[in-house]
């Protein structure tokens, strides 16, 4: 390896990077702002998805047996559900336990001691692995002999599933938009640095430098802009996370916010990668335009 070549190349990159400090600051700032927005968006999306998943996990199907259902019918259904892989758990609530539960849930407002007969049927509480399957499983359970009624919070399930779908779709769109906008801005910034160095580039072309050789320092500059910009953004996001999270939990007590829903190191790696990619791709495009012109 020719250390002189490496030294020359790195010297050129560093010299140009520091010479156009104002433009580099603009590019870095653009990357930082974009990555902060992107990071905040991904964080909120993951947290909301986690809240949604948490709510969906709590959803249960209540299967009420008819008053004349036989023990054999009830056992048969329990046996089927135990062996069904889609089912996360089942809990049998005999009518006596159901009455006690009702009394406990209503804090004694309903005085069950006055009842001469237990009006509640036997019940199965069923939780499924995938919330999307709730309506279909509930439908199937209705047809089972001995089952009088099957109840689940249909509207909640539908809304949550819809929310998840919208979050995924809108999320992809918003992320794509962020990346394109940042790419265009950085591309223009690097075009300015290319323009500022057009004389140098024309001399390089004149003496027979290959396009790849001319491109390389600009790509490195773009990469540096991307890495430094996204590092700044990550630091801002970490600071914001520690400053705002406790306040958010206090402000939204009814939502079970879970800090662990976001995998910090993975998110940081994704953001650094996104920043670097924006820098490299946009500088590649800007120099390419100039070299073709």
């Amino acid at each position: 390896m020719d250390s002189g070549k490496v030294k020359f190349f790195l010297g050129e990159v560093l010299r140009n990077f520091t010479r156009n400090a104002g433009m580099q600051a603009t590019a870095i700032g653009t990357v930082a702002i974009t990555i902060v927005l992107l990071g905040a968006f991904l964080f909120v999306r993951s947290t909301l998805a986690d809240v949604g998943k948490d709510l969906l996990d709590q959803i249960e199907i209540s299967v009420y047996f008819s008053s004349n259902a036989t023990t054999a019918q009830e056992d048969a259904l329990r046996s089927i559900l135990v062996h069904d892989r889609r089912i996360a758990s089942i809990q049998f609530v005999p009518k006596k336990a159901g009455l006690a539960e009702l009394s406990a849930q209503t804090h004694g407002v309903i005085d069950t001691s006055l009842l001469t007969e237990n009006p509640l049927p036997d019940k199965l509480r069923v939780r499924v692995n995938d919330a999307q399957l709730v309506p279909a499983i509930a439908q199937a359970l209705r047809k089972h002999p001995g089952v009088a009624n099957v109840v689940f919070p249909q509207t909640v399930v539908e809304r949550l599933l819809q929310l998840g779908y919208v979050l995924r779709r809108v999320g992809m769109g918003v992320i794509a938009l962020f990346l394109v906008v940042a790419g265009v801005i950085i591309s223009n910034t690097i075009r300015l640095t290319v323009f500022a160095r057009r004389r140098e580039i024309s001399i390089m072309q004149l003496v027979g430098a290959t396009n790849m050789y001319i491109r390389a320092p600009f790509i490195c500059e773009g990469l540096l802009d991307g890495v430094v910009g996204s590092l700044v953004a990550v630091l801002i996001l970490i600071a914001a996370r520690y400053a705002l999270w406790p306040k958010l939990i206090l402000a939204l007590p009814w939502i079970q916010l879970n800090a662990g829903a976001v995998n910090g190191p993975v998110l940081i790696a994704q953001l650094l990668l996104a920043g670097s990619a924006i820098g490299v791709v946009s500088s590649w495009i800007s120099v390419g335009r100039h070299l073709r012109a």
Binding site: I203, M204, V207, G208, T210
Partner: protein, 236 residues
């Protein structure tokens, strides 16, 4: 070494810069390309280093079909050529040494070759003692000598000069022309586009005259004007 056959160049705005030009330049020749501004001298040079492509015709430079050269092969062609311009095209933030070395470094030359070649090129143009100075600290003639050293550092077989004395006073012009002659004597083919009549008439070399994009005369030991030296025109 250089061959143009029936070459025409029509720019996108419709201007016909060159019209059916045929020209042969042998290895080791020293050729002046003369004519008024706008007659096609610079356009012809630009075709040779593949800055432009001809509209018609065939161009061969050192065995390379330039008119059919793919974009990706242009750097290889330019490493066979040295090009010098009126405005020197030096990098003001680099020293004389760095400007000359730059031409080698950007082609990926080994450092030991750079260290060997740059002092030789600077010695040839007589600027070894100013190698640490910046272009802004040099005279016009010295800047042009730096540009020539840069053009020569990769040992090109052909040196193309586009109005090399255009920005220089008569004394510096003489210096530069003598330098080009010395380079030519070492075997480099030199093609100089100029409208400096004094230089052409004094040096008495091959003179190709362009008018409206056409070659109108081609003399072995010619004057700027056909058959007439500067003194003869003035006295006539």
């Amino acid at each position: 070494m250089i061959s143009l056959r029936n070459v025409s160049l029509i720019y996108q705005n419709g201007v016909r810069a060159l019209d059916n030009v045929t020209l042969e330049i042998a290895k080791g020749d020293f050729v002046f390309l003369v004519g008024h501004s706008g007659t096609g001298k610079s356009s012809l040079l630009r075709l040779l280093y593949r800055e432009n492509l001809p509209s018609n015709g065939e161009i061969i430079v050192d065995g390379i079909r330039v008119d059919r050269l793919r974009h990706g092969r242009v750097p290889a062609l330019r490493r066979h050529l040295g090009v010098v311009f009126q405005d020197f095209k030096l990098l003001s933030n680099k020293t004389v040494w760095e400007n000359v070395a730059f031409a080698m470094q950007v082609t990926g030359a080994h450092t030991k070759d750079v260290m060997r070649q740059v002092p030789r090129a600077l010695d040839l143009v007589g600027l070894s003692h100013k190698s640490r100075m910046y272009p802004g600290e040099l005279s016009g003639g010295e800047q042009q000598r730096t540009a020539i050293a840069r053009a020569l550092v990769n040992n090109p077989k052909i040196l193309l000069c586009d109005e090399p004395s255009g920005n220089l006073d008569p004394s510096n012009t003489t210096e530069i022309m003598e330098l080009l002659l010395r380079i030519n004597l070492k075997g480099t083919t030199v093609l100089v586009a100029t409208h400096n009549q004094a230089v052409v008439d004094r040096m008495r070399r091959r003179v190709v005259r362009l008018e409206d994009g056409r070659i109108v005369t081609d003399e072995e030991r010619g004057y700027y004007y056909l058959g007439l030296g500067q003194g003869q025109i003035l006295s006539g």
